[in-house]
Structures are given as structure tokens and as C-alpha cells.
């Protein structure tokens, strides 16, 4: 038997909620290099374990056989910045297809020091439970007393119950939205970290799993070359501190996104009805420069494992009627989803609403599209005051909070809205549907105006994971791609998206944060090599990522995804009427973009399947046989 490479804890924790059993399954070292962890491992588990009998179809998101994989990776828990990694892989209710969505905090650290690389959950509990992990003690405990609590209060209650505090206990849980199976419910943990995509919180709710609580374990993690790990970490840190593209992220996290994206026309304002910040009442963009945004609050760093970024912060509201409230400093997506997308520039109100979304466990991105859409529909008379029960105007944070409670508890019209933007819009139909922002697969985009970021719209629509799969360019020249392309030339954009493919799935398999991995791929490979003892190259990393994406694509096809779903909704793919990207019409180039992308990635445009030669080139001969039968 091969010796276990460094960086791995060596066990997968299998939890069967139906039978109420938990067991540690040794992870065969032979497959560690092929799967790594995170989405690499999760994609393979979904493909292998969620097929219906006979292998032709796939179980739906709400079936007990659906897997909820909470994975980390070989870098998690090591002294590389931002390595508390959690990657959630499951069949999610948004697209009823696979998901890969990331959060951080101390989940990965605590889990690895307890001796596990991932938790694989299946079945469905009879009564609500939470999973407690403390080294070799793994228990499903009664969670009835936690029901109805929001995610922050759940963590507080579990601190009380266990007598632990802070990072001694990492808790990822669902709030009311997850309990009530809101289709865009998220899994929130460690005060402000959210795995938000494709309704993974609803999967947890369906399984009646309220929380996962992991004590900081006492076991050792061995690295093949520990000094090498620290040296690679130092190189990455130096790059993040000094590289022009990463430095603002190092200093202010994603806060600079608001002003920067507004300059590109990529800040979504009032449900894509405008791209001018001046159209938001009381908006003064100078108050949204990152330093001013941060200084508007009392704040303190609240970092993830081993992280030196000045990114995550806890903040206290300094003035107004919410003075003294502790909030998690919103990410850019929070400022956008709870602010600009719904027409609010009230920084205190937005920060508060963002934390309320986290506490309810609602994905703040889809929240922005949903709330903004309801506001627009009310303004235009498509949703009446009687239907909603009250009047909701642009920028009304208090009203938005009331809507949030209705949605997360499925009260009144909230029951329809809890089905997510696409399904709610289809139910209302008519002109209301025309103003809804969604992807035909059933998910919604991240909190940007992608009409000025074509590469991400294409990536989001063609993705198998309900959110961007290729990700934004990071040091693109390192992998032979141009430094930049014409953002409004569909063909160039499509080639770019195809060329960049692979990196993100690799990163998401390491247990590292998406932001601290915004460095050269070479450094990431160096850290991985030092941890494991392998000689992992950039080429292998890209190949790994593309292989993972191909496996997710195969699962998505089995779930019933087709090429016809790879389109933006009417509003999402519309043409901006003002602002920096005014008149740039992506829809006019969409077919050509799809054609180009398919040809470049080596997938069949008609069926969506990766060509046999593409799969064989990635070493996936077995998958070629599964997808193409004898033709392969």
C-alpha cells in the first residue's frame, strides 16, 4: 500500500442520517493525487453515488440518496494563508444539478485536526439533529432545541452547550431559510462565512441536519517538507501584499469592488435598470471608497486559518437606530446584493441587512436579485401591495428585512418567492418575468452586472456547478493566455473563458480561500508539493481542474441539464441603457460565443457532452465509455 502523502488527514467521515451511523472510512492514498479534496473529491462522489438505479438518471436534490459532501483539501490547516477551507458539493435545488461552493473560517482546520479530510452525508434524519465531531467522538445529537434559531444564535447555543468558544468550535449551520427549504438557502459558519450557491442550505434542511459542530482537534498533520510549506506560504503572502492586482484585496478585501466595478458598469444597480450610481437616492460614491467604507464602522480583523489578509472583519455600527449592533463586514457581494441591487446606499443599513441574510442563511446574491425584482415589480404594478402585504420601495432596507423574514419563513407571497427568482418569475409570468435576473438552469449569477463582464456571464451560463466554474483571470499569462482581451468581443471572450478553464476547480480542491489563492499557480503548486511530497506542476493542476469540470458536466447531464438551459434570462442578457457599458449587446453575440466556447473546450454543442477525445486526453477513458458507450 502506498504511504499516505503529507497534508492529508487520511479519513473520510461517512454519515448516514437515516440509520444514524457515523464511521471513518480510510481514504486510499492511491486516489489522493487524482482527487485532492474539495470539488475534486466532491465531483467524483456525486458522479459515483448519486445516479439512479441503472445509471441513466440522477437522484433529485431532495432525495435521501443525494450526497452532501463537506470537503476540505490538502492545504487546509497548514500555515498557508486562508486555509480553513470548506467546499460544499451536492445536488442543489436551484439547478437540480451539481454544486461546488466555498466558504472558510476554521471548518477545514478543525476537521483536519480531528483526523478527517471530508464529511460525506447521505440519508435523511427522522428528527432534527446536529453533527458533533471531537477527534474520534462523532455523534448525531438532538437538535430540536436549536430549531428556529438563526445561524449566529445556533453557533452561540452550541458554544454554551459544549462550553467552548471562538475557534475552539467551528460551527456551520442553517437558519430558518434552510429549515424551510428556501431554494437559495446557504450554509453559514463561524460568523460570516457562507457557502451560498445552489441552495446547499436547503439540502441540509431536507436532511434535517441543523448544524455541523467541529471541535478543534488534537491530532497532528504531517507535511512532507514543512519548511517548504512555510516558504511557499511566504512567497504567496509576498505576492498578495505587493502584486498590483492583489494588493487592494490584501488591504481591504473585496470592499474596493463597489467603486471599481461601478467604473466598468459592472456594479448592478436597481435590478439592472440602470448603471449610474447617481440614480440611487442619497448615493455619494466617495463615501464608498474602501477606506471610508471600513472606517464607517468600529472594526476588528476576524481572519480565517493562518491568514494575514486584511479581509474579513467584524464591525460594529457606530450611529443611527442600529448603533452598537455587531455585524460581519459585508463582502462586495453583500454591498451589492443588500445595497446597490435594491437601490440602497445606506451603508449602516446595508451592513445590517447583509448580516441578517447570513443569519437567516439566505444567499445574498440571489437575495439581491429577488428583492430588487420585487421592488421593480411593485413600482411597475406587476406585484400589488395586496399581493405582498405591504409597500416595498427602492432602497427600503427595513421593508427588505420584512421581505427577508417572509421568504425565510415562507409566509404569504414569501412562499412563492422562496422558490427563487426563476421559479417565482415563471409563476407570476408576463412582464414580471421579463425583469427577473436568472439563468435558465435555475440559478442566479453573482452580484455583478455581467452585461459589462461578458466572460463571467458565459462562464455562469455554461457552468455545471450553478455558479462560475472557470473563474476570473488570475495571472493569465502564466498559463499562456493573454493579459486582457476586448471585453465586448464575444469570440475573444469565449476563447478566453475556455482557455482559463481548470484553475478554479484546482484551487477549490486544496482547502484554500479563493482570495488568498489569487497568486501565481506555480506558488500554489509549490505549496501543494511541499505538503504532499509530490512534484505537482502547473500543467497537472490545469489538467486536474479540467478533469474535475468534465466529471461535474457528466453529472449535470445526468441531472437533465441541456444546452437549451445555457442562456441568460431576458433581463440578465439585456443591453445596458446607460453607464460605461451602454449599448453593449451580449445577446447579439451569444450564439457565436457558445459555438466558440464549445469548440474550444472540446464539448459537443448539440448534446453538451465532452467529446471522447477530450475525455481521453484528460485520462478519463472510463467516463468516455459512460457517456458515449461503444462510440468511444
Amino acid at each position: 500500500m502506498t504511504a499516505r502523502p503529507g497534508g492529508f488527514a487520511g479519513n473520510l467521515l461517512r454519515v448516514d442520517l437515516t440509520r444514524r451511523t457515523c464511521r471513518a472510512e480510510p481514504w486510499a492514498p492511491e486516489t489522493m493525487r487524482e482527487l485532492l479534496g474539495g470539488v475534486g473529491l466532491g465531483a467524483m462522489i456525486l458522479y459515483r453515488e448519486t445516479a439512479t438505479k441503472g445509471g441513466k438518471g440522477n437522484v433529485a436534490w431532495d432525495h435521501p440518496d443525494n450526497r452532501l459532501v463537506l470537503g476540505t483539501g490538502p492545504l487546509a490547516g497548514l500555515p498557508v494563508w486562508g486555509t480553513g477551507g470548506l467546499t460544499v458539493c451536492t445536488i442543489g435545488p436551484g439547478t437540480n444539478g451539481p454544486t461546488s461552493t466555498q466558504a472558510n473560517g476554521f471548518f477545514g482546520t478543525n476537521l483536519k485536526y480531528c483526523g478527517y479530510d471530508a464529511i460525506i452525508i447521505h440519508g435523511q434524519a427522522k428528527d432534527w439533529v446536529y453533527l458533533y465531531i471531537n477527534d474520534d467522538v462523532v455523534e448525531l445529537r438532538d437538535a430540536r432545541a436549536l430549531m428556529g434559531l438563526d445561524t449566529w444564535d445556533t453557533q452561540g447555543a452550541l458554544y454554551q452547550e459544549t462550553g467552548l468558544a471562538g475557534h475552539q468550535l467551528s460551527v456551520y449551520s442553517i437558519g430558518p431559510a434552510g429549515e424551510n427549504l428556501v431554494r437559495f438557502a446557504a450554509i453559514q459558519g463561524d460568523y460570516g462565512h457562507v457557502a451560498s450557491k445552489n441552495g446547499c442550505g436547503a439540502v441540509m434542511g431536507k436532511k434535517r441536519l441543523k448544524a455541523v459542530a467541529i471541535v478543534k482537534g488534537t491530532k497532528a498533520l504531517h507535511a512532507a517538507d514543512p519548511r517548504g510549506v512555510v516558504q511557499a506560504a511566504d512567497e504567496m503572502a509576498h505576492d498578495l501584499r505587493t502584486d498590483p492586482s492583489a494588493r487592494s484585496l490584501y488591504e481591504y478585501g473585496t470592499l474596493p469592488g463597489v467603486v471599481n466595478l461601478s467604473k466598468m458598469g459592472a456594479l448592478p444597480i436597481k435590478n439592472y435598470t440602470t448603471n449610474l450610481t447617481s440614480n440611487v437616492a442619497g448615493a455619494d460614491l466617495s463615501a464608498w471608497e474602501a477606506p471610508k467604507l471600513r472606517e464607517n464602522f468600529d472594526h476588528r480583523g476576524h481572519q480565517c486559518n493562518a491568514c494575514g489578509m486584511h479581509h474579513c472583519h467584524m464591525s460594529v455600527i457606530k450611529q443611527g437606530d442600529r448603533k452598537g449592533a455587531i455585524v460581519d463586514e459585508p463582502e462586495y457581494e453583500g454591498w451589492s446584493g443588500c445595497g446597490w441591487a435594491i437601490g440602497s446606499a445606506d451603508r449602516d443599513g446595508v451592513a445590517w441587512l447583509n448580516t441578517e441574510c447570513d443569519r437567516a442563511c439566505v444567499d445574498v446574491n440571489e437575495w439581491g436579485w429577488l428583492c430588487g425584482w420585487v421592488m421593480e415589480c411593485q413600482e411597475k404594478g406587476y406585484i400589488t401591495r395586496e399581493q405582498l402585504g405591504f409597500e416595498l420601495k427602492w432602497g427600503d432596507v427595513k421593508g427588505a428585512h420584512r421581505l427577508l423574514q417572509m421568504v425565510s419563513r415562507r409566509e404569504g407571497l414569501g412562499n412563492v418567492l422562496a422558490e427563487g427568482v426563476k421559479r417565482a418569475a415563471e409563476k407570476l409570468g408576463g412582464p414580471a418575468k421579463e425583469c427577473a435576473i436568472y439563468i435558465e438552469k435555475g440559478a442566479t449569477p453573482r452580484g455583478h452586472d455581467h452585461r459589462a463582464r461578458w466572460e463571467e456571464m458565459l462562464d455562469t451560463c455554461t457552468s455545471s456547478t450553478a455558479t462560475m466554474e472557470t473563474g476570473n483571470p488570475v495571472h493569465p499569462t502564466e498559463i499562456g493566455q493573454p493579459a486582457r482581451v476586448n471585453p465586448f468581443d464575444g469570440e475573444q471572450v469565449a476563447k478566453y473563458v475556455a482557455g482559463l478553464r481548470g484553475r478554479r476547480s484546482f484551487e477549490d480542491s486544496l482547502g484554500i480561500c479563493i482570495f488568498t489563492s489569487r497568486t501565481r499557480l506555480e506558488y500554489l503548486c509549490r505549496a501543494l508539493s511541499a505538503a504532499t511530497g509530490w512534484a505537482f506542476t502547473v500543467d497537472e493542476a490545469l489538467r486536474f481542474g479540467r478533469r474535475t469540470a468534465a466529471i461535474n458536466r457528466a453529472t449535470a447531464l445526468r441531472c437533465g441539464h441541456t444546452g437549451a438551459m445555457e442562456y441568460p434570462s431576458t433581463r440578465y442578457g439585456s443591453t445596458p441603457v446607460d453607464g460605461p457599458a451602454k449599448g453593449q449587446a451580449i445577446r447579439a453575440q451569444w450564439e457565436r460565443m457558445l459555438d466558440t466556447w464549445y469548440a474550444e473546450v472540446g464539448f459537443d454543442r448539440k448534446t453538451g457532452r465532452p467529446w471522447p477525445k477530450t475525455l481521453k486526453g484528460l485520462g478519463l477513458d472510463w467516463l468516455a465509455k459512460d457517456l458515449w458507450g461503444k462510440k468511444a
Partner: protein
């Protein structure tokens, strides 16, 4: 002499010091074996590391019945493994809870300032832990005095 100074307001709770320390202690990464620990304060909103302050009058030394705690070349109290009998008296004597006992080796262990290059200070990304030259070994007393004055000023 040089001491480890803690600047609690700079700590973001990333726990990188614990990883670095445990590597020095064991050769692996294992925060449970670290002799610097990060504690949460004010709920979950702030953190601060604590470790041996290398007290001028080391109660651990006084309590040890076999003379297993000595002062090393850089002025740190250090446990001599071959003398320690694992009686844990030092862990009871230490007022700060920074003497530890390892059931695997049946020995006490503590911060020895890594022989003059503390790994925690090196690893801390926000300089919340620094290794500094000081005129008096009782930096903790100065720190406590300064902080008390600040807090009392706020109360008044």
C-alpha cells in the same frame, strides 16, 4: 534581554502562531501541542494570544520537586526532559496556565523562546507578537499598568 511581547489589539485570531509553535515543538503541525494559545474575547469578536511570560520569579521552577526547570541561554525557563518526572506540579503552580503536560511523553513542556528565534513572532502576519529587547524583564507589569490606567481613565 529579549522578551515576547503580545499586542492583543492587533490579533485577528488566525492562529498561525499556534501552527508555527507546534511545528517547533513536534516537527508536525498540531495546535494541541502548541505552547502559545489564542483565546477568544468579547464573544467571538476578538482574540488574543497568550504564552509564558518568563516571569522573573518563576513559580514553575519553585514548585518543581526535581529541579527539572532551568533557565536557558536566552533567559527562558526551560524543561529538562531527562529530569522531568511528569508530576504536573508546575502546571498547578503556573498562575497563567502556560505550563503544559503531554500525556504521550509524560513530560511537562513550555515556551522556551525557541532558543532565541521564536517561531510564533516570525509567523504572526499582523505583528501582534513581537520579540523585543527590553530594559526590564517585567514588561508584563508595564503593560498591565498602562492598560489599567487606560481602562480607569475610560471609567472616570
Amino acid at each position: 534581554m529579549s522578551v515576547l511581547r503580545i499586542h492583543p489589539e492587533k490579533c485577528t485570531g488566525c492562529l498561525r502562531c499556534e501552527l508555527a509553535c507546534s511545528y517547533m515543538q513536534t516537527g508536525d503541525f498540531q495546535p494541541a501541542k502548541s505552547v502559545i494559545r489564542v483565546s477568544p474575547f468579547e464573544g467571538h469578536t476578538s482574540y488574543a494570544p497568550y504564552t509564558c511570560t518568563q516571569c522573573a520569579e518563576g513559580w514553575c521552577m519553585t514548585a518543581c520537586p526535581v529541579g527539572a526547570i532551568t533557565i536557558n541561554a536566552v533567559g527562558a525557563k526551560d524543561v529538562l526532559d531527562d529530569r522531568c518526572v511528569g508530576c504536573k506540579l508546575c502546571t498547578i503552580a503556573c498562575p497563567y496556565g502556560t505550563m503544559f503536560y503531554d500525556p504521550a511523553t509524560r513530560k511537562a513542556f513550555k515556551c522556551n523562546l525557541c532558543g532565541g528565534a521564536p517561531a510564533c513572532a516570525e509567523a504572526c502576519p499582523t505583528a501582534a507578537i513581537t520579540y523585543e529587547d527590553v530594559t526590564t524583564g517585567d514588561w508584563l507589569g508595564d503593560f498591565a499598568r498602562e492598560r489599567t490606567e487606560r481602562v480607569l481613565a475610560g471609567v472616570r
